[in-house]
Amino acid sequence: MKKIPFRVYYIVLGLLLLLSLIISARVGAVPISYEHMFYFLRHPGTSIEEQLFLQIRLPRVLLCAFTGAALSVSGALMQALFRNPIVEPGLVGTSSGAAFGAAVVFVMGKSLTGAWADTLGPFLLPVFAFIGGGVATWLVYRLSNVFGKVNVNTLLLAGIAVNALAAGGTGFFSYIARDPQARSIVFWNLGTLSGADWENTGIVGVCACLGILLSLFYSRSLNALLLGETEAGYLGVHTEKLKTRILLLNTFLVAVATSVVGVIGFVGLIVPHILRLLKSSDNRFLIIGSALLGAILLNVADMLARVIVAPSEFPIGVITAFAGAPVFLFLLIRANRQQQKGGFYA
């Protein structure tokens, strides 16, 4: 393995993230020059360009970074938990389950909670997304975990079945929905960051930071889990507790982000994988690195989404799918070769 210390990777990724944030804040339907950006930050005023930058562009760029970080870290968590490199939140049902939960809220809305609607307010969507994502992930995990071992075939099949079930549920709700509701479900299923404002950026930001910090706390136990549940137990890890907590943490990270930006697939798959190829499978590195690299990549994807069809905008989920699906196929082919040769990367 290469002898560059982890710190160097963090610094380089951190700088790249800063750079991508600045560039991403510049481009879009209305380009904003760097001089103006820094001027606006120091001297708040009320020009239209400034309103655009402070109220629309800036929250969007930050929301994008937090979402990318949250999704990638949950990808790393799920890969460690399932001990399989092809797992990501989309595959194990978290995203589609959360989407289903959100569709329920879109269509049923206030009739669902009645008098409670006002108190729940902005939390209605995240809470339902969390429940939906959690139930779906738990189902896939239970179905694929036979006698303490995760069987990849069962995992893929269980993932397909639960995803289909959730997609069917989402489809049902968009069918019975009135037109504007249905449109928001469809758009939301492809992922969109256009709804960014300071309120939802704040919610996602706080939850993402909290979730990532908690994940770091479990990184050592997750490393031990790579050897198998029995071995991890011998190293003093309470494996049952750990599994439940990681599943909850994953659902928390994905559901909150998903409830705001919709379903964005494949980020959670590619990011930890790139980091593994770059350096190491140590989970502490993967979690910090995924947070940084995920934020960078999703920012670049969102920049593309705004640029290629400007002044309109492209669904970001389409871009991540185009970039991610080939990586997924590449991994599957490598995984098949594993049965004939030594290790996954051998």
Binding site: S221, N223, L226, Y234, G236, H238, R276, D282, F344
Partner: protein, 259 residues
């Protein structure tokens, strides 16, 4: 001191371990032998706390195993299982460091690093330290796993003894490393470690064990000091094969040859 009282382990309706009572003192190398499926590995799992027995009690220094916290147990009890599977690339160094995981809370201390270094040079796997575990041969992996188990219990706790369980620790090793590992195990025994190993090679067991325990169908057939305990009739009874004991003029340990 490890004590086992009336141990019974069942999977569903199948009885794997059927009423075993034994005690293991530190300072001796205890070796369990028996045919495939006789319950040897299950015994180790019950001793080490991985399995909760259906009936009976396991006590460490007179404290019931069920009353010892998992993390505290991990600081003084290590288990080397038959090769665990790994699906991700990790460096040998990190795998050995896993043995120190129960001892530090976020980052390894200089002491943890020093222990890993000592263990690796003890097992002559220092040259492998930067290598990816997945690229190692079976024998190299087995030595790395042994190093991990050693690193876990390298330091003696103040008042309690340490416990080391080895489940077929030499199954992939060449003859040189088989003897190196067993010799190391012998040296460890002097340090007040309760050491129990499951072995298949009876000659290797005769050479290094202080005490042998013969297991068949979940029961203890015979147990006692080496070499006196080993007789052709016992081998026939347990393994269903004819054997003779030949005297080695160079040592007082007999050699088993199979008919």
């Amino acid at each position: 001191m490890l004590e086992i009282q009336g141990l019974v382990c069942k999977i569903g309706s199948k009885t794997i371990v059927d009423g075993v009572s034994l005690s293991f003192d530190p300072g001796r190398l205890h070796v369990i032998v028996g045919p495939n499926g006789s319950g040897k590995s299950t015994l180790l799992k019950a001793f080490s706390g991985e399995w909760v027995p259906t009936a009976g009690a396991v006590t460490y220094d007179s404290v019931n195993l069920t009353r010892i916290d998992k993390l505290h147990l991990a600081r003084r009890r290590a288990v080397m299982t038959q090769l665990p599977e790994l699906h991700f690339p990790l460096s040998v160094e990190e795998i050995v460091m896993m043995g120190r995981y129960p001892h530090f809370s976020f980052s390894p201390t200089p002491n943890d690093r020093a222990i890993c270094g000592q263990v690796m040079s003890h097992l002559s796997i220092q040259p492998l330290s930067g290598r990816d575990y997945l690229t190692l041969s079976g024998g190299e992996r087995q030595r790395v796993q042994f190093a991990r188990a050693l690193a876990q219990i390298w330091e003696a706790p103040a008042s309690t003894s340490r416990y080391l369980f080895l489940d077929e620790p030499v199954s992939s090793l060449d003859i040189h490393y088989q003897h190196q590992l067993m010799q190391l195990a012998r040296d460890l025994v002097k340090e007040k470690i309760v050491l129990i190993a499951v072995l298949h090679d009876l000659n290797l067991a005769l050479h290094y064990a202080d005490r042998m325990i013969f297991v068949k169908q979940g029961r203890i057939v015979a147990e006692g000091a080496v070499p006196g305990i080993v007789t052709p009739s016992l081998i026939r009874e347990v393994f269903d094969i004819e054997a003779r004991l030949l005297e080695d003029p160079q040592s007082d340990i007999p050699v088993i040859v199979y008919a």
